[in-house]
Symmetry: C2
Subunit: 207 residues, 2 copies
DNA sequence: CACGCAATAGGACGAGTGTCCTAGGCTCTC
DNA sequence: GAGAGCCTAGGACACTCGTCCTATTGCGTG
C-alpha cells in the first residue's frame, strides 16, 4: 500500500466525516479509525488538521469542477445545464436530508470558527456562481447573469437547509418543479428584459 | 445582583456567543468571561452545557413568538405580515452577513453534532412555518398554505446563507424585491388556484 | 546479506474541555 | 450580633484534543 494511496484514503475519509459530523467535531482519532491507521502516522502525510481541511476542499473543488465540465459535455443547451444544477437537490436528496449541503454547511461552520480556510471553501460557491453565470449569459441575460446565478444558488441553499431540518422529500420536489418553471420563463424571456419584467412574467404563473 | 438576573445574563451572553461562534466552539470559559462570573458559579444556575443550550433555545422561542404576535397586532393584512417576514433578511442584514441565520445555523450545527436538543431547535423553524401557514390560509390558499410557507422559509434560508458567504447586501435587496413581487402575485391569485404545474410534476416527471 | 528510505505504530506531552467540590462572602431576619 | 440561606469564587478532576517524538516495520537496491 503506497503512501499516495493512504493519503487519498485519508482525504476521502476526512471528506465524508467533515460532511457528516462537521470539521471541528471530527477528531484525528475518528479519521484514523476510519482509515485504519495510527494517529501518529497521520503526520507523515499531513502536517496539521488544517492541512487536511485544505486538501479536502481542494478535492471537492476538483470533483465539482469535473462534474460541471461533464454537464457541459452532456448538455449543449444552457437551460438543460442549469436544470441539472437545479436537480442536484433531488439527485442527492438522501445525503442532503441527512447532512445538508456540503458546501453551505462547511462554509457556515468555518465562518463561525474564524478558520483561515474559509476563503478556500468560499471558492466552491464561487465555482458554481461563475458557472451558472456563464450559462445565463449564453441564454442572453448578460446584464443580470450574475444576479440570476445567485438566485439559483439561493434556491439550492434554502431547499437544502429546510430539507435537512424537516427531512421532507416532497418539499424538495415541489421547489425543484417551481424552479424549473421559473427557469423556463427565464429562458423564454431573454435578453432585454429587466429583473422586474421577469418577475411579472414568472410571478403569477408560479403561485 | 440577584440570581435570576445572573441567570438571564448567562442566557443572553450564551445566546450571542452560540450565534457568533457556534455552540460547540463556545466554551464555558468564554461565556463566564462575558458575564464576568467564575466557571464554578455556573453550575449553580445550570446543571450542564446542554442545559444552557436548552435555555437559550427557549429564550429564542419566546422572543420570536413575541415578535410574530407583535406583527399580527401591527399588520391586519396577511400580505403585510408575510412581507414583514420577508423583510427580516434586510432588517437584520448586518448580523446575517456576519453570522448567518440564527435558526438555520444552529439547527445545522446541532444536527451534525447529533445533539439531543436538535428537536427543540427545530421548533423554531416550526414556529415560523406554522405562523406563515396561517397567514397564507387567511389569504385563501388553504390547500397549499404549508407549501407556500415552506417556500418563504426556503427563501430566507437561501438568502441568509449566501449573504453570509458573500457579504453581499445588494443581493439581499434584489432577492427581497423578487419575493415581494412573488407575494403580490400570490395575493392577487387567491383561493382556487392550484400550484400551477407543481402538482402535476410532483410525481414521476421529476426524475 | 546489509543498507537506506519510505511508511507506520504507539506512546508522551501540554493545553483546553465540561464537570464537580468545597470554602467563603453576602444579605436578610430574629 | 448571630444565624441561615442564597449566591459566588477558584481550584481539582478526568478526559479529549492536536501535536510531536522515537522506535520499528517493509521493501527494493547494491
Amino acid at each position: 500500500m503506497g503512501g499516495a494511496t493512504t493519503r487519498a484514503h485519508i482525504v476521502e475519509a476526512a471528506d465524508r466525516l467533515f460532511y457528516r459530523q462537521g470539521y471541528e467535531h471530527t477528531s484525528f482519532a475518528a479519521i484514523a479509525e476510519a482509515v485504519r491507521i495510527s494517529r501518529g502516522n497521520f503526520y507523515y502525510h499531513f502536517k496539521s488538521k488544517d492541512d487536511i481541511l485544505t486538501a479536502v476542499i481542494a478535492a471537492r473543488l476538483d470533483d465539482r469542477r469535473r462534474m460541471l465540465e461533464q454537464w457541459e459535455a452532456d448538455e449543449p443547451d444552457p437551460v438543460g445545464r442549469i436544470g441539472r444544477f437545479i436537480e442536484i437537490v433531488v439527485t442527492n436528496r438522501a445525503d442532503i436530508q441527512n447532512y445538508g449541503c456540503p458546501v453551505g454547511t462547511l462554509t457556515t461552520e468555518l465562518a463561525k470558527l474564524g478558520h483561515p480556510a474559509l476563503n478556500d471553501a468560499g471558492d466552491l460557491f464561487t465555482l458554481f456562481r461563475e458557472w451558472l453565470r456563464r450559462q445565463f449569459v449564453l441564454l442572453g441575460h448578460e446584464a443580470e447573469a450574475d444576479a440570476l446565478a445567485m438566485h439559483v444558488l439561493a434556491f439550492s441553499q434554502g431547499v437544502a437547509t429546510l430539507a435537512h431540518a424537516f427531512q421532507d422529500e416532497d418539499f424538495i420536489r415541489r421547489e425543484v418543479q417551481r424552479m424549473h418553471d421559473w427557469l423556463s420563463a427565464c429562458a423564454a424571456n431573454p435578453g432585454t428584459a429587466r429583473h422586474a419584467g421577469n418577475e411579472d412574467a414568472v410571478g403569477p404563473a408560479n403561485v
